[in-house]
């Protein structure tokens, strides 16, 4: 990076002796571009190039009679397959991710609120409790949930004993998958909400009470709207990775009825001969759907200038 910057500056220096001193604004613009360069390069190499590659793969056609061999083409057949054959998986991805986001929000908001306003000296401890799980592998923690929710585990056997578990299982059901997603992405919901609440001036919340709003109304009219940037960030940080997740469905779900798009992509890439174009088409479609949803969501809730 420094080598690049150095090259850039020599280039700029070479021009200077030729004429008058460069315009300050132009020079500023040049420096700004120079500073952008590392980021742009990074994006080109690690984002744009793979995207182009993925798009190319998704449009490939298969050599007839030679499974696993492709040629370059502009064939939208894989997209058709992706959408028609795997529609239920798309539905599940969005539904499970949506449910997990909702549950995470319901759990995270009171927690973040307590941390920001009620915790006092316990704030640090609570913060550590929220972050600590990150020190263990994501996979390992999900496997642990499989043990906790297993048929002979404490939760399932208690519920069964109380006749509250009609199917007899928690694992292998959508409940376990949504629970796993909720658990795994909860910190991504807590932290932004906490940050936005913690930044809110307590005097503004007091002003709500002073202006005839009781506790509940003050929360609804003042506290919640002021924390909306955090809620927005938290829901996006939860929903987007959850929609693309396959680990929870793999480890906690069933082989058939709870598979998400991520699971299909994974198996198309690694387990199905000749599945590359479909896997790539699935990835692109999922990305497009999420982008569209996020766009609508941010348009609806994110345009208000907040703080």
């Amino acid at each position: 990076m420094s080598a690049l910057a150095h090259l850039g500056s020599t280039g700029g220096g070479a021009q200077a002796p030729g004429g008058a001193a460069p315009e300050p604004t132009k020079k500023g613009g040049f420096t700004a571009y120079l500073l952008l360069l590392p980021g742009v390069l990074w994006l080109l190499v690690f984002f744009v190039a793979p995207m182009v590659q993925l798009a190319a793969v998704s449009l490939q056609s298969q050599f007839p009679g030679y499974p696993g061999y492709y040629y370059r083409d502009v064939n939208f057949g894989s997209y058709l397959t992706a959408i028609t054959e795997y529609l239920p998986h798309f539905g599940r991805s969005l539904l499970f991710a949506g449910a997990a986001t909702l549950f995470a929000f319901v759990l995270a908001y009171p927690l973040a609120y307590a941390m920001a306003f009620k915790a006092g000296k316990w704030r640090g401890v609570m913060m550590i409790c929220v972050i600590a799980p990150f020190f263990t592998s994501f996979i390992l923690r999900t496997v642990a949930w499989r043990q906790i929710l297993a048929d002979e585990g404490p939760i399932a056997s208690t519920l069964r004993f109380l006749h509250l578990l009609p199917g007899g299982h928690i694992t292998e059901t959508w409940v376990a998958v949504v629970a796993g997603l909720t658990y795994n992405f909860l910190p991504f919901m807590v932290l932004p909400i906490y940050a936005s609440l913690e930044r809110a001036d307590p005097k503004i919340i007091e002003a709500g009470g002073d202006l005839y709003a009781n506790g509940l109304t003050t929360f609804r009219r003042v506290t919640l709207p002021m924390s909306m940037p955090g809620v927005l960030a938290g829901t996006l940080l939860t929903f987007i990775p959850a929609a693309g997740d396959y680990v929870n469905a793999e480890l906690l779900g069933s082989d058939t009825s709870t598979k998400m798009v991520g699971n299909v992509i994974e198996s198309q890439f690694f387990k199905v001969l000749g599945g590359f174009p479909v896997a790539a088409a699935l990835s692109f479609t999922l990305m497009a759907v999420i982008l569209a949803l996020v766009f609508l969501y941010v348009r609806r809730y994110g345009t208000e200038e907040l703080l």
């Binding site: 503004i204 709003a213 009781n214």
Partner: protein, 374 residues
């Protein structure tokens, strides 16, 4: 009072003077407000003046209901408000940091209170109040798009629109520069006269308190030292703290040595000064502190003689002379007494040409002297 009650539930209509009765507020080991009692007459402009940390904000917060007193009662007229919630009180606050709702427009900020109270045309009320503070043209902006002075006026409008029985202003002008401060002082006074509400204005700027208020209460260490009309307070401070916090005073620490007619004689070393009995606040054990304001004194380069005995002091050494056009300020070291200041308007035809190091005497009209408690 539960969280499910309607927002207007429990609202107390109360009219009359604001009365604090023996109010105390303790935080753990620290007493921020100590057995404070005061009455603010309805419709008056009341200033609470005191140094940082003396308990002004805590007092206001107890009136607003944002804090509950450890002991004592808060009343408006005959209605006891102690223990009620902020949203149940006919009291509104202009916070020091304004505390405007950042997610709402100026108009919605102002309409917030009326909407919660279920006022039929909350927005129209808000518009009317914005007109009063001359901000109608900015009604659609967000608070962050306003200057400090504009935000301050929104904060005032947001409180005023509710026609509270008492309006609390916690150093509302603290964040403004001097020029804007002076403008807003006039503005606030105008608004108060126009709406006729009780204003309780907290400040640590003595000039602000004296120019704006009908009544000034000087607060120190959680107690009210003295309360009264600004002129009275300035002319006749009763404690040493007030004498020095409200303006400046030349003091002489001594003992009561007797009386002379209707005056008390206070002595310290070779110095003897007199205070009219009515202007004397005696301390314990005959200890007395004599005081006189610098602008009430004159400087002499010769002993003013026995006809001014008891109303003059000297000789002292002139330490500093600063000429400021309208007036000249002298600083005099009087042995055994301390440093006294003299402000003299430049009225003399032949200017006294005193220099630092000269021997000088100071005199005053005996009617201006006062005696304070420590």
């Amino acid at each position: 009072m539960g969280i499910f009650s309607k927002s207007t539930g429990g609202f107390r209509e109360a009219k009359g003077d604001l009365i604090l009765e023996n109010v105390t507020k303790s935080f753990a080991t620290f007493t921020a407000v100590d057995d404070l009692s005061l009455t603010v007459p309805r419709g008056s402009f009341f200033a609470l003046l005191g140094p940082s940390g003396c308990g002004k904000t805590t007092t206001l917060r107890m009136v607003a209901g944002l804090e509950q007193p450890t002991a004592g009662r808060v009343k408006i007229g005959s209605t006891d408000l102690t223990g009620s919630r902020p949203y149940e009180r006919p009291v509104n606050t202009v916070f020091q940091s304004y505390a405007l709702f950042p997610h709402l427009t100026v108009r919605d900020n102002v309409a917030f209170g009326p909407k919660r109270r279920g006022v039929a045309d909350a927005v129209a009320e808000a518009n009317k109040t914005l007109e009063l503070v001359q901000l109608s043209h900015l009604a659609d902006r967000k608070p962050t798009q306003l200057s400090g002075g504009q935000q301050q006026r929104v904060a005032v409008a947001r409180a005023l629109v509710n026609h509270p029985e008492v309006l609390l202003l916690d150093e509302p002008l603290g964040a403004l520069d001097l020029k804007l401060r002076r403008e807003m002082q006039v503005e606030l006074k105008r608004i108060q006269m126009e709406v006729g509400l009780t204003f309780v204005h907290v400040t640590h700027d003595q000039e602000e308190a004296m120019t704006m208020a009908d009544t000034v209460a000087v607060m120190n260490l959680g107690k009210i030292e003295q309360m009264g009309a600004p002129e009275v307070l300035y002319d006749l401070p009763r404690t040493k703290f007030v004498a020095n916090f409200l303006g400046q005073s030349n003091l002489l620490h001594g003992t009561v040595q007797g009386t002379d007619g209707d005056s008390v004689v206070i002595g310290s070393g070779d110095h003897k000064v007199k205070v009219r009995q009515a202007r004397m606040a005696t301390g314990e054990g005959g200890e007395a502190i004599f005081g006189v304001r610098p602008e009430k004194t004159r400087i002499h380069d010769t002993d003013p003689g026995p006809q001014l005995s008891g109303a003059s002091i000297g000789p002292g050494t002139l330490l500093d002379v600063s000429f400021s056009g309208v007036a000249t300020q002298y600083l005099v070291e009087i042995p055994g007494v301390g440093r006294w200041a003299v402000y003299e308007q430049n009225l003399d035809l032949d200017r006294i040409d005193n220099k630092p190091g000269d021997q000088v005497w100071i005199s005053w009209n005996p009617g201006h002297a006062f005696g304070v408690r420590s």
